[in-house]
């Protein structure tokens, strides 16, 4: 086994892990507050990719790289539209069920996922949609035998940065304190004068916004998007959040990166045909040893 191969696998794993982590952050935040598995979250991320595609698509004809302002606009539009969709989702599908059996909201989320996925199929066709090339600078470094691109570095760093910003926001601002308080006990938080509805709305803005960035990174890195890819990314992000300890922000980051590394090493060193089974096997093992994930604390469930 060559060292460069191993290092290359680590680079591969971290890049995908960064994307998983961005999507997992949204999962974990919603879960932290509402104890709800938002199964539509993966589809929201994909919506971000498609919004970005629509903005960038205007440039496709010429073949020249899109202007920097257009790329920025793509990200802004994706974040705006997707967080709006997130809030709308909260209002229509989740809020009426806040005091119902928690599985009712889960099924509502499954319905929402079906709605978004098929809606994207109707708008953007069932075909694989291709992103323009050279959206980001095409810089490639060859370090020893290891290949590293600018996009990869950007994905990993921006996911780390966003996670850190989110962590500081939640732990060191007044509103962050409100978020944490609402996550622990909504009724008590309300008694303390915290506007819990505002907290929940903010979570449905932040989570989908991060998901949209993750989705657009997927589109830019792989240069394609397809309407039904939300399930696969959503499931992986959900697993990442669980591995890290769902409800825990650094946990989502850690879980995402670890999952990316597992996937990469399993495909590279054990067996590509059993890759997903190995990933799931590892997840099950982790949960048997640490029943609430790596950084998770034991929290009472809302029933």
């Amino acid at each position: 086994m060559e060292l460069s191969t191993l290092l290359q696998q680590l680079v591969n794993g971290l890049t995908v892990g960064g994307i998983y982590a961005l999507i997992a952050l949204g999962y974990t935040m919603v879960y932290g507050i509402l104890k709800l598995i938002n199964f539509a979250h993966g589809d929201l991320a994909v919506l971000g990719a498609f919004i970005g595609l629509t903005v960038l698509g205007g440039q496709l004809g010429g073949g020249a790289p899109p202007a920097a302002w257009l790329v920025a606009l793509a990200f802004i539009a994706a974040v705006l539209v997707v967080s709006l969709a997130g809030v709308a989702l909260e209002f229509t599908a989740y809020r009426p069920l806040r005091h119902a059996h928690r599985l009712s909201a889960v099924v509502s989320a499954l319905g929402a996922s079906m709605f978004f996925e098929n809606g994207m199929m109707l708008i953007w066709s069932p075909q694989t949609r291709v992103f323009p090339s050279h959206i980001l600078p095409d810089i490639t470094w060859h370090l020893g035998g290891v290949v590293l691109t600018f996009t990869q570095v950007l994905i990993v760093f921006s996911s780390l940065l966003l996670m850190l910003a989110l962590y500081l926001y939640v732990n060191h601002t007044r509103f962050g304190t409100a978020i944490r308080a609402a996550a622990i006990d909504q009724d008590a938080a309300r008694l303390m004068g915290i506007n819990v509805n505002r907290v929940i709305i903010s979570v449905f803005i932040l989570g989908p916004a991060l998901g949209a960035i993750g989705g657009l990174f997927i589109g830019i890195y792989y240069r394609e998007a397809i309407f039904n890819m939300g399930w696969l990314y959503g499931l992986n992000a959900f697993i990442a959040a669980i591995i890290g300890g769902i409800g825990n922000i650094p946990g989502a980051m850690l879980g995402g990166l670890l999952l990316g590394l597992f996937n990469s090493l399993a495909a590279g060193y054990i067996s590509s045909s059993w890759q997903e089974a190995i990933t799931f096997g590892l997840l099950i093992l982790i949960l048997l040893v640490r029943p609430t994930g790596i950084l998770g604390e034991r929290v009472a469930e809302k029933v």
């Binding site: 060559e2 069932p126 090339s133 696969l232």
Partner: protein, 374 residues
Amino acid sequence: MMIKRILAVIAVSILGVGAAFGAEIVKFGVQAPITGNYANEGQGIEKAVRLLAKQQNAKGGLLGHKIEVVVCDDEGKATQGALCARRLVNDGVFAVIGTYTSGAASAAQPIYARANVIQTSDGTAEMLTRRGYKTFFRNAPPNSAEAKFTAHYLVKIKHYSRIAVLSDHSSFSKGLGDATEAAVKRDGGHVIYRGYITAGSQNFMSVLTKIKSLKPDVIYFSGYYSDGGLLRAQQARLGIKAVFVGGDANQNTEFAKIAGSAARGTVIVNVPAPANLPYAEAKAFLADYKAAYGTAPPSIFTLTNADGMRAIMYAVEKTKSLNPDKVEDFLHHLRDFRGITGPLGFNKHGERLGSAFQAFEIQADGSYKTLYSE
């Protein structure tokens, strides 16, 4: 209330079925995945059938009968496939075009066979044509023929000595990959790696890094263009020099778009592209499809299913009969019909005959150059 309403809906649909019968109509069924993971393929099949029916009707119909198209969405699942077959048979269809997945095709097969409804599907599982159903016609060439050509090209013509074979987990792709691996070994070639990707997962860097460390001469991929284009792009990103050879499902204009600058030099094995066939029907169909729907057909299987329908219509016109037995008999002896995916015929098992394979290379401008043909 709910029950009443549901019963009402059920009653209406029972009564509704079977009403529109007789007259000068011949019904063609489409059984295809209109929703779900294969929606792209299924909608393409539906569009092609509707287009062909419209064109035929404009020419005065089939033996004077107006063609009516009835679509049933099987979502690519066996259960829904069986239900669709039942529904279409009930609707009185003469023939069914589709379906796309082998599982749904095989669940539907016995139902069409019992009702003597002609079925033409691209399902690739070998078993589909081994069950003795005289109503079944596979419109795509069997994996074994393509595998044999591919192995011959890789081992005997190009003399590659280190061959990596990649598939996804689908029935089609795994079947083609396995057949190619076996054929390469039979020809004395050396398969250094046999691996899998998860279709649609986009991240193929790990598998490719593994392949890179094995220093292959060629990477052969038996899956679909949307994954193939990405594999090619990521192969280039990792600086793997090996030639990339893709199976028939990689032949799609989108491949080059997805692969970007890495597309050039990619080799694809397939029956001749419609654009390269020596007769007008093929080019005309492509142009008509584009004019009608604004895009190219989503994949080669849109075209093979269109060919299935064209062959059936041809058989009806030649036998001047809408008697399924006569049409089936004619189809079982059909040879060298001018298909839009190359010459087409069927043997007595309903297996497609007559397709000569070619190896094309994608050029810098996205066009294909034929490197080697059978």
